[in-house]
Amino acid sequence: MRARAERGATFLAVLGVLWGAWEGWRWIGTHFHLTWPFTVNDTTMPHLHRIVQALFQPAQVNGPSLLHILLNASAFTAKEAVLGFVLGAVGGFAIAVVLSQSRFLERGVIPYVVASQTIPLLAIAPMVIVGLESKFGGTLAAWECVSVLAAYLTFFPVTINALRGLQSADPQAVELMRSYAAGRWRILWKLQAPASLPYLFSAFRIAAPLAIVGAIISEPSASIQGGLGGAIVNFNQYYSIEPQELWATNVISALLGIVFFLVVVVAERTIVRRAPENVA
């Protein structure tokens, strides 16, 4: 309980310092007319309280508040990201399981897994969306195509870490399984898979926020306007007039990412039972 209070206090203190740094730099920049590294003014660095204020004001005359719009957009993007995360996690783990069965396969395929991540999502988004729509146009919604793109981003850390985790089982533990005449699949499910869990959750911590980034980036390609990606494109256009609205959108996106991360952390605490010193 006390540790929790301390952590909360630390969080607030860091928030305060960051807030102070932002406003401090803003003050110095406007006071001394700094032009390096960038000109500081209301457009480049709006007051933080103006960003917070913007959340509670209508984005359009007589419309709902910006917060209301962004929460709806977050819910939409979260839906895409959750499906994308699940697809990426399951697919990524499945790839790792296959690769863990043979050194030859691992050496041959891993370079392509790595190469897949050097292609920007923006470059493959149209192919995936057009491809999926021409094949499953009637059955697959646009947001589901976005999930597939988010999965493309999330499978990578899962595959890499799961592979390492599956191979992390103690060699003596493998000997023990062999002494019980356990076959490859028994060893995989009774030993290697549970041994990989801490590694898997490290990957999930990275993959969860990535799923949101993937969904946001892919939304415009799928012509989706109801999500955070749509909101970001929209407020981009008004940035020079109302920068605080884009900033507010970014804050909400970041919060969504943090929520995803925390869900993974809580799941890890309940699922992974390890000696405190053995948690990867």
């Binding site: 103690d170 003596q172 533990a173 000997e175 023990l176 062999r178 002494s179 019980y180 005449a181 356990a182 028994r186 009774k190 030993l191 549970p194 869990l197 992974v272 039972r273 390890r274 000696a275 405190p276 010193e277 053995n278």
Partner: protein, 254 residues
């Protein structure tokens, strides 16, 4: 029927290291045979050949009258390593259940056996604990319970008490002897402790290194059942001395 029969067993590792050369050894039912020797004499390798965890380069290993591989497939032996090798994500009870799960026992039968085994290794009440909550000695007792849970007639032990302190080791030695008597099993035990080998065994196989060979076999004629008092017996010291001398004759510098 002879439990373990080794005929001309040799093992050469990649790179040409000869770990074992021409090992002939028979272990009869209810024997407690210790393999002792300097590090590098291949005693652990020999144990793994009996368990079909490593294949010999030459010679044959027969367990219960069949090839070591068939014996492993039939789960004819239980094995205990120097490290307890318990699964962190399983409780003590679930660790003991592991081989029973693989054998396809139903839940009720598994639970009943786990309770029996915990009783046998004097760990009643620890079923729900996780391995990291136990001391090293308790972890090793769980490993022994796991190895014996499916009642194999042969128990292979690779320096099981090597990582424990002297007092715990002596206590577990006595416990192991009573478990051995109770389960009527045959034990092949690897150790580098002379008093441990003498205290536990019916026969001590002294090995020499480079290449690993059997130097001498010494019968331990101490009366059964043995208690801690045996350690203060004059005959015990005589036998410790003869094992030590056999090791020296085999090339160990003591």
């Amino acid at each position: 029927m002879t439990v373990v029969e080794l005929k001309g067993v040799s093992k050469e590792f990649h790179g040409g290291t000869v770990a074992l050369q021409g090992i002939d050894l028979d272990v009869e039912p209810r024997e407690f045979v210790s393999l002792i020797g300097p590090s590098g004499c291949g005693k652990s390798t020999l144990l793994r050949i009996i368990g079909d965890l490593i294949a010999p380069t030459a010679g044959t290993a027969t367990v219960n009258g069949k090839s070591a591989e068939s014996a492993r497939r039939d789960r004819d032996y239980g094995i205990v390593f120097q490290q307890a090798v318990l699964y962190d994500w399983r409780t003590v009870g679930k660790n003991i259940e592991l081989p029973l799960e693989l054998l396809g026992w139903d839940r009720k039968r598994r639970k009943a056996r786990v309770a029996e085994m915990l009783e046998l290794v004097e760990l009643g009440g620890f079923e729900g604990h996780h391995p990291w909550q136990l001391s090293g000695g308790m972890q090793q007792r769980v490993a022994i319970a796991r190895a014996l849970s499916f009642q194999p007639a042969l128990l292979l032990m690779d320096e099981p008490f090597g990582a424990l302190d002297e007092m715990t080791r002596e206590r577990l030695n006595s416990e192991l002897l009573s478990i051995w008597a109770e389960t009527e099993s045959t034990v092949v035990f690897v150790t580098h402790s002379i008093p441990e080998a003498v205290f536990l065994s019916t026969r001590v196989v002294v090995m020499s290194a480079r290449p690993g060979r059997i130097a001498e076999v010494i019968d331990i004629d101490l009366p059964q059942p043995r208690t801690g008092a045996v350690r203060e017996d004059a005959r015990f010291f005589e036998l410790v001395t003869s094992v030590r001398e056999a090791l020296i004759r085999g090339g160990v510098e003591i």
